[in-house]
């Protein structure tokens, strides 16, 4: 216990020039690395927000089939050993927010 107290007293006595220089250098390097990491992280998070926002708009639009572009087509399925083909329209809706683009697709059936 006495030895530990002596060591603490010695530490309280101040830091050497080498320690100061090395510490500043280390902190500077760490700050550089962390700032770029923070930037990347913020960028990822922002893209996530933009993607969410674009997704909300695109989904609402295609659900309401408002302003959705479409092309005629068909969708095929089989059941009970029989094939069926249903005609309709393929709808797509794209929304872009801050360069983040989200596109949804759906099929509007009109009948066999």
């Amino acid at each position: 216990m006495n030895r530990l107290m002596k060591k603490l007293k010695r530490w309280r006595s101040g830091m050497t020039m080498v320690e100061v220089v090395v510490s500043v250098a280390l902190i500077a390097v760490a700050a550089l690395i962390l700032s770029s990491a923070f930037g990347a992280s913020l960028n990822v998070a922002r893209r996530g927000v933009d993607s969410q926002s674009a997704g909300n708009s695109a989904f609402t639009a295609i659900e309401q089939q408002s302003a959705a572009s479409g092309s005629t087509g068909s969708i095929a399925f089989s059941a009970g050993g029989k094939d069926y083909t249903v005609s309709g329209r393929y709808l797509s809706q794209t929304q872009t927010v801050n360069g983040v683009q989200v596109t949804f697709h759906s099929f509007e059936a009109t009948g066999p």
């Binding site: 010695r10 530490w11 006595s13 101040g14 830091m15 050497t16 080498v18 320690e19 100061v20 090395v22 510490s23 500043v24 280390l26 902190i27 760490a30 700050a31 962390l34 990491a37 923070f38 990347a40 992280s41 913020l42 960028n43 990822v44 998070a45 893209r47 996530g48 927000v49 993607s51 969410q52 997704g55 989904f59 295609i62 087509g73 969708i75 095929a76 399925f77 089989s78 059941a79 009970g80 050993g81 029989k82 069926y84 249903v86 309709g88 393929y90 797509s92 989200v102 949804f104 697709h105 759906s106 099929f107 509007e108 059936a109 009109t110 009948g111 066999p112």
Partner: protein
Amino acid sequence: MGKKGSALVWAVSSMLILAVVAAAVLTMGGVYAHRSIRDNSSRQAYLTARSAVDAMIAQLEQEEGSTTLVPAAAGSSQAVSFTVPDPLPGQISASIGREVAGGVAYALLSATAIVGEASETVKARMKLAEGGGGGGGDSPVWDYRIFAGNTIDCQSGNMQIGGSIHSNGSVNIGWSQGRISGNAEAVTSFSIQGPVTEYTRIFPAAVIPMPDFSGYVESVKIPDIVMPGSYAIHTTGSALKSDSRQNWNQDMYVTGDVTVDHGVDITSNVYITDNLTVREGVKVTGNLYVEGYINFESGGAEVVDGYVHADGNMTVKASRKLTGNLYAGGDISFPNGSDIEGNVYAKGNITANGFLTMKGTLSAGGAVSLPSGAKIGGNLFANGDIVFNSGLTADPAAALCVYSAHGNINNRVHTIGTINGVIYAPEGTVALNENVTFNGSIVGKTVTGYAGNLIMGECAFDFPFLGGGDSGWEFVRYE
């Protein structure tokens, strides 16, 4: 040198703390971005699954109740294999099951789509809606080729019945040659005169009640005309005189009689407070309401998806194709025949001469009189008598329904070619004449007449009048 300090320890500690914070922020950003991508994948998966369910709904709405798309056994289900072309992303696994609740059959549709890491399932429920029938659809009466509430009294040179006959009263049949492949049933008296080749006599048989189809007639009633509350033009009948063909393309309210001498195209809503006479042709694609009578004289009348309503009588002297609706509070007559693919309803009588080709529904509060060779492929209802003035022709690929609620179906029912369907006069007489080749059921209080050849078999078609043939699937809800 040689001195010892604490700066390095603090520096390293600070770096560790910063590293932890940075790692946390990085992780949170990544998680948030990943969640956004996953949310969008989830939405696309929902849209893909919904598309698959909608496709199954669209197909089932066109299918009959007996479709193989829905398994027959309640509580069972079968897989539906989808081929999803671009641009619809994802993979779909789907199934259709059958459930019965409260005596009603339901189809349970389910589709699960996987897009990226997201998976969404959409379910829907459809109901099997039976055809109309007013409670008579399940009646055993429709299992008989000939059924009488009181009497079967028929003579025939050659009677070939593929099925059974039944009378709640007497059966009195005479034939030169004959065969009844099923039962010949009578409740009060039984007589078949002639060479016996084949039949199973059941006498006395149990009474079978006549089915009630009054509800069915109501279910196919012509819809009411819908006129606007206000009109862009108010004018008088005399102001509509013209030396050339007219075009009524704005909503118009006309007071007084209207006579059009050189034809008219009606593409709007026109209301006339008195009578309307049109010469040299009329084409109606809008709505025409006339409080008095309507005379469509020379030049032809064409009603294309429009609606012509007269509170009084309606005469269509030179009918072209009628694919819309015709309603008259009085009688409707087609003196020179008609080609009807729409709905025609008269509170009074309907009379056609010349020719009649019918694919829609023709119903009369009174009687119906049809010309020689009338070709019927739809529904024909009357409260009173239905008279075929000569042979009856029908599309062999369609089912015919002739129903007189309170009258007779007479007096020359004979067929040209094979006819499928039902002839039904529960309170009257069905009178047969000459040759009759009929697949289905002839039902009357009395079935009588002389048919040189009376050839009957089972109807080849599912038939809405029988209350289950034309049943179909109706969308109920998404679940």
